[in-house]
């Protein structure tokens, strides 16, 4: 890692090229730019997650830490490549006036042509697409379950401000559940008459799951509380009996369905790097999430 103090974008860019040459491989095999916007205390963990995701998606990772916006503008950076990264990285700390113009630092550092993804590991802007940094990216990843306070409100806010390209890791977390539920209806081609989602009291993922099920099944979906962790049970009633997936420990679930023996099925809660890697696999609009976001907003406005 090379430390650059009181620097600017062109010096960071030059250092990226130099570090690439120092690492002995001047070729660029990177497929995208990933911008991470995080407060100082969360930055290290977020960069570590990005490092693991970068093995699947070699990228230029730009960590942006927005400091106190008062005072004179300061840009500091740590630049490096190699060392377990599947690409190259710059961790940029902004202080003073430049905090309000972070996009001016990031824009010159985007890789040519290739797509840009942005990730707010904790708090995100209320409207990511309208955010100056968010506007640079095709893919805007938020994580409502990771905001320090008001997770449910944060989820609703993100759904309200949905724009093509937005996505939330609470949605990503649902993929294994959704896969299993869809597989259950492949096995039991039955009409679902009602459904129930049980989860810990505050769970943006559970809210999205309720919205998804009600959107797809067109039936009433109720939400129950449990002690968690996360989502603990989903059941779908059919005329032959309920199809139920329950997971008490966040790891191993039991799959019960009509006229079939109960079966254990691994359903582990995934770590952030795995979620991020899934998010970066597709960079076009997620139509299903768009519908679910709209449905969630509708369900909430009824209440």
């Amino acid at each position: 890692m090379i430390e650059l103090t009181d620097t600017n974008s062109s010096r960071i860019a030059a250092e990226l090229v130099r570090s690439r040459i120092r690492a002995g491989s001047p070729a660029m095999g990177m497929v995208m730019t990933l911008v991470i916007v995080a407060p100082e205390e969360d930055a290290a963990e977020a960069m570590a997650a990005a490092k693991r995701a970068s093995r699947e998606h070699p990228s230029r990772v730009l960590g942006v830490i927005l400091g106190d916006a008062r005072g004179a503008a300061q840009v500091h950076a740590q630049v490096g490549s190699g060392d377990g990264w599947g690409g190259e990285t710059a961790l940029i700390r902004l202080k003073g006036e430049v905090v309000k113009h972070a996009e001016s630092v990031v824009l010159p550092l985007l890789l040519p042509d290739s797509p840009v993804a942005i990730w707010w590991p904790t708090s995100a802007p209320a409207d990511p697409a309208a955010d100056p940094l968010g506007a640079l990216a095709q893919r805007r990843i938020t994580d409502s379950a990771a905001v320090p306070r008001g997770k449910s409100t944060a989820m609703l806010t993100q759904c309200r401000s949905y724009a093509p390209g937005n996505t939330d890791l609470s949605w990503t977390r649902l993929t294994p559940w959704r896969a299993l539920l869809a597989a259950a209806l492949d096995q039991h081609p039955l009409k679902v008459t009602r459904a129930k989602v049980t989860a810990e009291r505050i769970s943006p993922s559970a809210d999205l799951l309720v919205a998804w099920l009600s959107d797809r099944l067109k039936v009433e979906v109720t939400r129950r509380n449990s002690d968690g962790p996360g989502i603990t049970e989903v059941s779908m009633d059919t005329r032959e009996g309920p199809i139920r997936i329950s997971r008490a420990d966040g790891r191993l679930a039991t799959f019960s369905s009509p006229n079939r023996p109960d079966r254990p099925v691994a359903l582990k809660r995934r770590e952030v790097p795995a979620l991020l890697a899934e998010e970066l696999r597709r960079l076009d609009e997620d139509d299903v999430y768009a519908e679910v976001a709209a449905r969630l907003v509708k369900l909430r406005s009824k209440k």
């Binding site: 099920l213 254990p264 299903v288």
Partner: protein, 507 residues
């Protein structure tokens, strides 16, 4: 009205395809293939959540084992060879579905027991009557096993059920034996239910050949005899035959590798654009290539074969093929084979495909190199371009999967000096936990019933038709030429290309 699953949406591409309720019966539990490839792949699939709840694995072998003993074998195989981390909950899901049936391949009682076990799994685990039979056993036993499966009603699916059979190479040792084998299998299972695993076709890079060729516009215009000089397809191993003398002696490199892997790679490189990316369309195009492939008239000048001799390979002293345990001193089995194939189509007329494979070569590598013609005119002084050879596009199948473009570039400095340089692309994705290994993908495709990556018996027979004359010619004349271990094969291979005014790339 047919049922449309409301939770499925073609737009929803996050949802992985999970196989429906099913189980797998594995014959040949103790073999290398089962322990190193099949069992770990099954675990990895479960770990990725791609196996259905209730998936069951039945082992069949001539061992006096209980279910737990079998589970222990799988456990050890998974711990040692699985690519994804070991998780207790995944193991729990899987291990509840382990069963073991002990018996010989001609033992009626054992197959009656197997039948009973399969029926029982339907009841207890909800496998829905869907079973795949994986024959990880020598082909000599296929007849016995599929005969027994038929006799005990294991090969007949009920309504809305499937029964599939999975076999591994070798698919025979010549055209005639391949036909016999196909007849045995086709007599019991319809041809759409026979899955021949060629694990090369499950590899990311091999599928990427199709993506590269048919999703891009910049390669297609030069992908023909106007620009391509020749194509070299290499699969080299740095190891010897190890303990596989029994299998290898009498088979040799050409039958072991060229007939399946290399001719399949050739078909993918040479084929025309399929009308769709589905099994049938791909097969049609591959078959067209294999049908139009011919051998040159003079096989003595256009083929080469060798046997590795004792020597030093990669810093280790190794013994020669004839000194390997279980190999006769007089064996004429080749451990290196190179052949020339012409594809008689408008696209490829006059472009030879050189296929070579061998053991104890310089390093382990598989690649396809498309070598282009020289530029028709070079406006530089002759001294400037002395280091410039032919442009090449190299598809690196393994290891270090990716693609290399080789072209001329100016050497920095005041003089005009042009030399060959490389441009590499390596997709990181092929090395991560998230992307499936070839066996995983193929086993999942078997369970899903999705066959685009499996060669059908027509392709197998066409490949033998290409290779048979070479093998017959070799059997009639001479014997393999010794080559030093750790080198790139016998001199005759170099001469074979030199006659055409070409040289092998050092891969």
């Amino acid at each position: 009205m047919t049922y449309a699953n409301p939770l499925r949406d073609p737009q929803d591409r996050r949802l992985p395809r999970i196989a429906g309720p099913c189980g797998l019966v594995l014959f040949g539990v103790t073999g290398d293939l089962s322990r190193k490839k099949v069992m770990p792949a099954i675990y990895d699939l479960a770990n990725r959540g791609l196996l259905p709840p209730g998936f069951s694995l039945v082992g069949f072998a001539r061992r006096d084992w209980a279910d737990q003993d079998f589970a222990q074998i799988v456990h050890d195989a998974v711990k040692e060879h699985a690519r994804t981390p070991f998780r207790e909950e995944v193991w729990k899901q899987l291990s509840e579905g382990f069963r073991f049936v002990s018996g010989d391949f001609d033992d009626d009682a054992a197959f009656a027991h197997l039948r009973h076990t399969v029926d029982e799994l339907d009841q207890l685990r909800g496998t829905g009557g869907n079973m795949a039979f994986y024959l990880a056993i020598p082909p000599a036993f296929f007849g016995n096993v599929v005969g027994q499966l038929k006799e005990h009603g294991l090969s007949d699916p009920g309504p809305d059920q499937w029964r599939r059979v999975v076999v591994e190479k070798p698919f025979g040792h010549d055209l005639e034996s391949a036909r016999e084998l196909n007849q045995i299998l086709d007599g019991v299972f319809p041809s759409g239910s026979v899955f021949r695993i060629d694990h090369y076709l499950g590899k990311e890079t091999v599928q990427n050949i199709l993506a590269m060729r048919f999703a891009n516009n910049m390669f297609e215009p030069i992908w023909n005899a106007n620009y391509v000089d020749h194509v070299q397809i290499t699969m080299a191993e740095d190891i010897g035959i190890g303990g596989r003398a029994g299998y290898y002696d009498g088979i040799g490199a050409a039958r072991d590798v060229i007939q399946n892997h290399l001719l399949q790679l050739m078909a993918l490189v040479a084929m025309e654009e399929p009308i769709a990316f589905d099994a049938r369309s791909l097969r049609i195009e591959k078959q067209k290539v294999l049908k139009s492939a011919t051998l040159p008239a003079r096989l003595d000048l256009t083929t080469a074969r060798g046997q590795y001799a004792a020597g030093w390979a990669g810093g280790e002293k190794v013994q020669g093929f004839l000194d390997e345990e279980g190999i006769k001193k007089t064996s004429t089995t080749e451990t290196f084979a190179a052949i020339t194939v012409n594809v008689e189509t408008r696209r490829w007329a006059g472009v030879p495909f050189y296929l070579r494979t061998g053991k104890r070569l310089g390093r382990r590598v598989t690649e396809v190199a498309v070598v282009f013609k020289r530029a028709p005119h070079l406006p530089f002084a002759q001294t400037a371009t002395e280091d410039l050879s032919q442009n090449a596009l190299v598809i690196r199948v393994q290891p270090d999967e990716g693609m290399t473009l080789r072209f001329g570039s100016k050497v920095p400095g005041t003089a005009m000096e042009i030399r060959d340089v490389n441009m590499d692309f390596a997709y990181g994705g092929s090395f991560t936990e998230a992307s499936a290994e070839a066996y995983e993908r193929l086993i999942l495709d078997v369970l899903l019933g999705d066959p685009p990556l499996f060669p059908r018996h027509e392709e197998v027979e066409l490949s033998w038709k290409i290779l048979d004359p070479v093998i017959e010619f070799w059997a009639r004349k001479g014997k393999p030429e010794p080559y030093d271990s750790g080198t790139w094969g016998p001199e005759s291979a170099d001469k074979m290309l030199a006659r055409d005014g070409r040289t092998w790339r050092r891969p």
